[in-house]
Symmetry: C2
Subunit: 410 residues, 2 copies
Amino acid sequence: MFSVMRSVVELFGYEEYDAPIIEPLEIYLAKSGEEIVNEQTYTFEDRGRRKVALRPEMTPSVSRMVAARRQELSYPLRWYSIPNLWRYERPQNGRLREHWQLNVDIFGVEDLSAEIEIIQIANQIMVALGAKSDMYKIKINSRLMMEMVLGDYVGIAPEKHKAINHLIDRKHKMESSEFDEAAKEVLGENPESSSSLTKLNEVLTKGSLSDLPERAKLLPNFLRLEKLINALKQAGIENVEFDPTVVRGLDYYTDIVFEIYDNHPDNNRSMFGGGRYDGLVGLFGVEPVPTVGFGMGDVTMKNFLELHNLVPTLKPETEIYVIMIEDVSEHAHAVVSGLRDNGVKVAVDWMSRKTDKAIKTAVKKQVPFVLFIGHREVNDRLYTLKELASGQEQKLTIDQIVELIKKSRN
Amino acid sequence: MFSVMRSVVELFGYEEYDAPIIEPLEIYLAKSGEEIVNEQTYTFEDRGRRKVALRPEMTPSVSRMVAARRQELSYPLRWYSIPNLWRYERPQNGRLREHWQLNVDIFGVEDLSAEIEIIQIANQIMVALGAKSDMYKIKINSRLMMEMVLGDYVGIAPEKHKAINHLIDRKHKMESSEFDEAAKEVLGENPESSSSLTKLNEVLTKGSLSDLPERAKLLPNFLRLEKLINALKQAGIENVEFDPTVVRGLDYYTDIVFEIYDNHPDNNRSMFGGGRYDGLVGLFGVEPVPTVGFGMGDVTMKNFLELHNLVPTLKPETEIYVIMIEDVSEHAHAVVSGLRDNGVKVAVDWMSRKTDKAIKTAVKKQVPFVLFIGHREVNDRLYTLKELASGQEQKLTIDQIVELIKKSRN
């Protein structure tokens, strides 16, 4: 899975970077949103009594790194990483969970080209993993447009937008009555609240940009969003759609956000996503750098591949398991070296035990071939190669074995 | 460097494993030796008030993992990993240093074949990294044999062996008078101390097995060591030698230990090593499992490669940098996709800036080719490809570009 990710992002010119796994807690407090920092982050004091955290996400780290070298880096800067991240489970569980996440970011591009490229990469990885376009959807929204719609059309005061956004982000996990209750609480007691709630629900059920209120269509961010969706369709990505409920849980996104949804009936939910966050690098005391990126976790992707029967069958790396039917260790070394020098991956059973036990081990390890070596084999320089799947045995020279293994790779 | 390591260990049939980076402190206290745990390990309390550590080494983790699945695993078990490890610098410095280390272990083999295989792998990696046999030495010793020599011949009481071993391990970093002082302190005030010190220094300067005292030569571990060195020489590894001062700092080794020494006059020291540790798995409450392994750190290896001029020149992954000389973004997407679909790694300059600035970026990023696209190029379907090193420019179709890039890879 990671090798597929790597090969796709490198086709797009991205370079790998690495970052520390322990960071000062402050870098997450600024913009990640409260939930992720307070409830899900593993924090502790280091020996110098500083509050530090095992990184729960990569975006603040990479932003800090870009900020530190802002002048010397050349843009567009394309960086990716597959870091391990940690999530601390809620107290009743208390486990520390390590997981991996591909992070892909482009720095320095204000233009919509950055969003197009980033979403193309996300889509290309899905395709490379074997997903068909009817298995998933790419849902896109503009936070800036939504902010204007929430304020101007729905009538929600700006200071309540953050709370409403967090609520919208969780909408899919709630009953509609539950959502309404929570929204009423945020909107507060005032004469317009009930009409706002009606309008909010109306806006959030719009399935296409053309259904939005007419005045929304005049907003520059509406046009930007429309242009993005059209450009992606033109680039052959059919399963792109506008979704007003996509806002992303993290506070640092500034405009376009997107999520990749699983269409499978048993897993109808967001798998991963990203968006534009032009402000984060600037938080580290330098001029801001426009940025678009996404993160793609290993756990949700594994789940997707399993549900859609896309998990590739893993072949073991080892190709030949060598078993000595008599004690010929000293000669076996030369045979084995001869194979390895030709790139054949060989494991030797050094256990001085009965042959059938050794064969069982080879079967358990799923090594495709077994090679038997005894005194006669050493004398004749002809070794017995057995293909475990077919049971077929042949007496072969080292050169012939190498040739056969190389053929069997295709 | 890591990809070379990976390819070698997989030739020997090793499979990759992964382990948690935070472990309960106890697993290091048992057998790692005091220095590594007390002074160099980064420890803290987790939320459940347990003492935990950022792993300073991998061996205790892998031993615990094998112990937990002792029954279901099949032997010989060949495992490798390239974990990140942490070392906490002494208080005056106070930094936390992350580094990487290849760890290779074979479990379940009592026979000397395990040592032969493990040392062959260590040597094979050196060879694959470009090292010649005169650049480094493989120094081997047997802890059990040394223990008997220290007790029986030198006359040191068994309870002092651990302290003497730690001292011998640091001998290379000390003046000989300093070593003598420290040794006297360990030996204590008794009539035999001075004769013991003389004998100790005599034994520690022996350069070959045949120079050891006659009664040492009757020990079974002497014969084992001799057999190992002969087997390695027979396998074509010429730069193997016995060294009585090789004892390894970690307490868990039980018999054969080895170290790879840099022969470079500016860096005449041990780079990495390993040995047999048959007792560690058994510490986790199961029957012991014979084990031989080694660890190879990135920092010392990088140092070695630099000193010996073996660092490979790193080519950037990206092959073409696309620059639009006019605003043709919409068409550029198709051109770029055409290249990527054929496996060419392409980065696009989405900066809408002057061409010479974009070229500077390509040069800085060391991308070998620049592709210019403007209106005429889009119309003619002929794009200008410039090789930056030679300055040579050609007008080519996408197919021709793909062909040229593929040729340029060799």
